[in-house]
């Protein structure tokens, strides 16, 4: 059995090479399509990964028990989900490790990993190692190294996920044969996982080819677009935006309200986080080498983005994701590019971008008391409406104590206006 080893300087429990062989690595769910692919890719690389698909009220309760209650809701949920799984998931508690992302930005989210460790200690589980998944070189572990190859594969997983999510959301509300869209998503997910676990499908050329085929398949779905539906965009803090656990199954709710939903993809967030480093250097000065490396990575992601967009934009019936540079240009005179903590200016930009591409009804999701959202979310709504008077935005707070009825009631108000606008638009046509 693997010995527990600690970092000499900080005393942090390390994830060792031996553990990599013996341990199960648990990670919390966020965006299902993406994460399922990502999980399988990591498994193939020799990590015994387990994506947690648990839900239910026990998760939040566990979180509340072990994390400071005023901490943001995503921390309570992700940490709750991890600890709950260790406690009740039937794993050998001496052969399980946890993995959590760390962005290294100036918001509280960078501290989740520390809060998780504190929680584990409180729960008497301090022997469980925690691995940080980040691009900033924080917290190294002998048993877990993020290689260039892994980063490329992860980017590929994000791209495929974004593509499937984007197409699914635009087809499912109009499908003629119930469940067909979801079946198509599953089919492709399997196919991609199969490709990638065989070391294929993550080169630009392969991606381009695969993405084209995916778009073709969705194009060939039998759809009925005769009824115009209310189009709703979802933006917000990244976890509550994507995770059903965090937003009380918002996508499902909107679907039941007969809406078409648009969730801007994860690639935009990845680009934003890389771009931040470049902006920092531009604003305050900094090393040329760092700039060179970031620019390289940025360029690569932009190429990948191009591949994604061109695969979808071939079909007129689909709204392809906007180019990062375009989305960015929308906030030029609205909010500074130095606003980088959390979702930063990207959140504002996504709202403007959605409104511009026909999704002017927007749910801006945020954890109660989310600091960056005071600025880039609620703080910018006034300006957004000034720029695009059609924008119909509702900001919704999510929290362990915020009841679903209230949230849905406020969203329904937004939808009432959306429906009225839709009727007016129909008359105009």
């Amino acid at each position: 059995m693997a010995k527990l080893k600690y970092d000499k300087k900080t005393g942090r429990l390390l994830f060792t090479k031996q553990m990599r062989k013996e341990y199960t690595l648990l990670f919390p769910m966020m965006a299902p399509i993406h994460f399922e692919i990502l999980g399988e890719v990591f498994r193939k690389l020799g990590y015994n990964c387990q994506l947690l698909e648990t839900n239910g009220p026990d998760i939040a309760q566990t979180g509340l028990k072990y994390v400071h209650n005023d901490t943001c809701y995503p921390a309570i949920l992700t940490i709750g989900q991890l600890i709950n799984a260790v406690q009740t998931g039937g794993y050998d508690i001496n052969k399980v490790a946890l993995i959590i992302t760390q962005t290294g930005g100036g918001c509280r989210a960078s501290n989740y990993i520390h809060l998780l460790r504190k929680g584990l200690k409180k729960a008497g589980l301090s022997q469980v190692p925690v691995v940080s998944l980040n691009l900033s070189g924080m917290e190294k572990n002998p048993g877990f190294k993020l290689t260039i190859g892994m980063i490329r594969k992860a980017i590929a997983a994000v791209i495929y996920g974004d593509s499937l999510m984007c197409l699914r959301n635009q087809c499912r509300p109009y499908e003629v044969n119930d469940g067909e869209t979801d079946r198509l998503v599953s089919k492709w997910q399997k196919y991609i996982i199969d490709k990638m676990t065989n070391g294929k499908g993550y080169k630009l050329k392969d991606m381009s080819e695969l993405l084209m085929r995916i778009a073709d398949d969705f194009h060939n779905l039998e759809l009925d677009r005769s009824e115009r539906k209310v189009k709703v965009g979802i933006v917000g803090e990244i976890y509550v935006k994507y995770a059903a656990l965090g937003n009380n199954n918002l996508e499902k709710f909107l679907q039941d309200e007969n809406c078409e939903v648009n969730l801007p993809g994860i690639l935009g967030f990845v680009l934003f986080k890389i771009d931040n480093r470049l902006e920092d250097i531009k604003l305050y000065g900094g090393s040329k080498l760092k700039r060179f490396v970031c620019q390289k990575l940025m360029n690569y992601c932009l190429k990948v983005e191009e591949v994604l967009i061109s695969s979808i934009s071939r079909y007129d019936e689909f709204v392809a994701p906007s180019r990062y540079e375009h989305t960015k240009s929308l906030v030029k005179d609205v909010i500074g590019y130095g606003t980088k903590m959390g979702e930063g200016w990207l959140l504002t930009a996504e709202m403007l971008e959605l409104a511009e591409s026909g999704y002017e009804n927007i749910v801006c999701t945020q954890p109660f008391g989310c600091l960056p959202n005071h600025i880039a979310g609620k703080g910018m709504i006034r300006k957004i409406v000034e720029i695009n008077p059609k924008a119909n935005i509702v900001a919704v707070d999510y929290d362990a104590g915020a009841p679903k009825v209230n949230q849905e009631n406020r969203i329904k108000l937004m939808l009432s206006i959306a429906k009225e606008n839709l009727e007016k638009a129909k008359v105009e046509i």
């Binding site: 901490t71 501290n111 604003l283 305050y284 500074g336 606003t339 903590m341 609620k378 409406v385 108000l413």
Partner: protein, 986 residues
Amino acid sequence: MEELRVGLDIGSTTIKCVVIDSDNRVLFQSYERHLSKISEKIEEVLNRLKKGILKDYDSVKISLSGSAGMGIAESCGFPFVQEVYATRIAANLLNPDTDVIIELGGEDAKILFLNNGVEVRMNGSCAGGTGAFIDQMASLLNVSIAEMNELAKSHEKIYTIASRCGVFAKTDIQPLLNQGARKSDISASIFYAVVNQTIAGLAQGREIKGNILYLGGPLTFISELRTAFDDVLKTNGICPENSLYYVSLGAALASDKLIDLDLLLERVKNYSHTGNFAFRPPLFTNEEDYRLFNERHNKEMVVTLPFEDYDGPCFLGIDAGSTTLKCVVMDEKGNIRFSRYMSNSGNPVPLVKNILEEIYSLKPNIKFKSSAVTGYGEDIIKNAFKVDFGIVETIAHFLAAQKFMPNVEFVIDIGGQDIKCFKIHNGTIDNIFLNEACSSGCGSFLQTFASALGYDIETFSKLGLFAKRPVNLGSRCTVFMNSAVKQAQKDGASIEDISAGLSLSVVKNALYKVIRASSPDELGKNIVVQGGTFLNDAVLRAFEIEMGVNVVRPNISGLMGAYGAALYAQAMCELNKESSSIISEKELKEFTHEIQVTKCAICENHCRLTINKFNDGRRFIGGNRCERPITKKTGSNELNIYEYKLRLLQSYNDSSKGKLGEIGIPMGLNMYELLPFWTVLFNNLDIKVTYSSLSSRKLYLYGQATIPSDTVCFPAKLMHGHVRDLISKGIKKIFYPCMSYNIDEKKGDNHYNCPVVAYYPEVINNNIKDLKTENIEFIKFYVGIHRRKDFPQKFYESIKNYFPSLTLKDVKIAAKRAYQAYENYFRKIQIKSDEIILKAREEGKQIFVLAGRPYHLDPEINHGIDKMISSFNVAIISEDVLAHKVKKKITVHVLNQWTYHSRLYSAAFYIKDQKDMNLIQLVSFGCGVDAITTDEVRDILERYNKIYTQIKIDEITNLGAVKIRIRSLLSALERKENANGKIEVR
């Protein structure tokens, strides 16, 4: 047959029904309370319609609206119209020239802007400033809503009351009552608080002007509330006929689907709930269980003996709590001879007077040997009735608990509005937890809830004892619980399940929000519970279940404070004197009490003073933060670094003539500490600097309508007032830069500002309209003072757009001086703090590190807490000066990445071996970052056996709770020193 349409509006407390004809004329309307029995009430209303106006109809066009109507509409197949939307439909028809609608309901507050782009606003997750809030306040004042309205008409003064949530307001109002403020002034103040809450929370930068319509229950029934709105908005709004029925009218107007009435009734009748809600095991599975439980708890007895049989010396204990008044007369052996427990309708003085009269009439020759008073009303009661001793509540409760369990390790008291608990270690109180403003009110919440559901508290809580499936309502602020309960009802939870669920929640709140315990082991095995709320068997049982241990509930649980005070009186008089100074029977007959209200003019805190005058010419002043209005002394602020820093910053006079022009700097957030930096920088560039005025309530209100996020911290909210203040001063260029990073003090892993400090200029830029209309140049570019070498170049590139004649050379020289000025500032405050420490040590004074953020210097933010603490004859320093004494990076268990917060950790670390230093952390409500720092600072301190104290601050100005904390801390420190646990004479 005429085509009729029906609209039903099911709000949080009432159900409204309207029937209209095809010409939109109202044929029928009804308004009644539903007491949360929603489906029954709908059935009743529908049946009434069916027998009456709809008797010839089989089907009718009908729709449902209202916050509580959504669930039932969905499952019974009613068309649903969102209520704000419904209001709009009705207003468009009835008042087409309306610009803005303000509608207050039971738990909702809404503003609708109808012209220039329709916008609708609804309160988010907070029910502050709504009908429920006003109801709560009325019950606190012990008057009806109508009486409250009448009272408000004769008001003379308006007090500042936080209306964000009822819990906050209570902490503001209670001390006012205790200090003897007039109910009429308080009533009016409550209405103004509602107005401010509505504007701050919902206007979000949009001006409320034009034709205004007032709708909903509170605005219909309370004329003074409308007056308050008119006054604040400088307008004349109208409250139209049918103002209660706009939502139901809108729903009726929107009805376009014919629905079969019988079918509908059938569905409502069979409205089978999903039954799908999270629940917990029952509190008691059977009667036997409950019997055993009672048997166990009836054992712990303090004996109550007949009063008339006893002629020996007596000890009087009074606990003038926030919502109840308790009084005990104890004999020499610790038996209770007389006791009273009554609800406190506000002013405790007449109540105590009545009790004393009763005692004297029962026992004319009573020999009071000593007396003591504790609780919120301590000061006024002590003065009014010449009580011998005053004692802080925590100590009173500890003394009483020891009587029941000499080896007690943990005492928890849940009272009307507070939770107090503390750990006992080696016979001294070692850790105190008081509920922070956001989760208090637990006991009174149960009460309010019971009456909202049409029960008295006792019946209501008993309902929960044998509930089969207690709802899992979580551990949250009571305001949120209100809506959680609605959700549970929608999901089919019975009243029994809800009652039990609420009891469980009260307990969880205490455990996980206040104490922040994760397991019973942390609190020890020997627990005494007390306070009125634990008289409730359901709560007590819930506590035992949650903790997994059996606890002791003294049979005088509700009287513990008073009993503790009596014990204290006894202990003190043994060491002290022969007979009590308490008011005699004769004096009591002549006793009168008069109240005057005035504003203290001595310093910028402008405390509202209540001057209590008694018949014998004695006076008592309440509401003061410091001793100055009483002693008339200038007060020695020599040992208070907060005073020094504020004065030092004010001394950075502008020395420039401003050849190149003038800029304004808003004085808030990070600009506080950077004032020396920017002043010197700009002065050296020949640019004149003007600051915004010192913060005040008025300045805050001036900016509040432009605040987009009502949950952001108060210091950030204040910035809106500061920027508007600069504009009103005629400043044309305002400098408020964005700063992701702060200076790197090499104390942590990074040196960020928090997101709010970093980017608040972006919010200001997009939400203060005057910036555009007054053509202000708002300078908010990003600066990086952390990169000293790059700063001049980068700063130059940006600033030259506003001052084109500047050269890079100028900026380089100015920047150098600016950095020097910044360092000089720190040097100065460090020297001063060293002096303070030295002096305090010479004089043998305790040194308190009042730790927070640089902007906590602002008297409007710290509410004079520094002055209040220093009035206890202690020295005060701040975290920044100590942090600089710690040279190396310290190890913490969090990501140490914010400059201001790193200082907290370093300061906590520094005092670990400074015997006479203790740390008090100031935390702004809504500060997300402090959710991380508070736990870590506590951790560091407790590792080295130091007591951690936290004070949450917001708009609120009540210092009563803070005082308790400080006094408890001082007394705990005293006892720690003499660890044998005897009571010391003060």
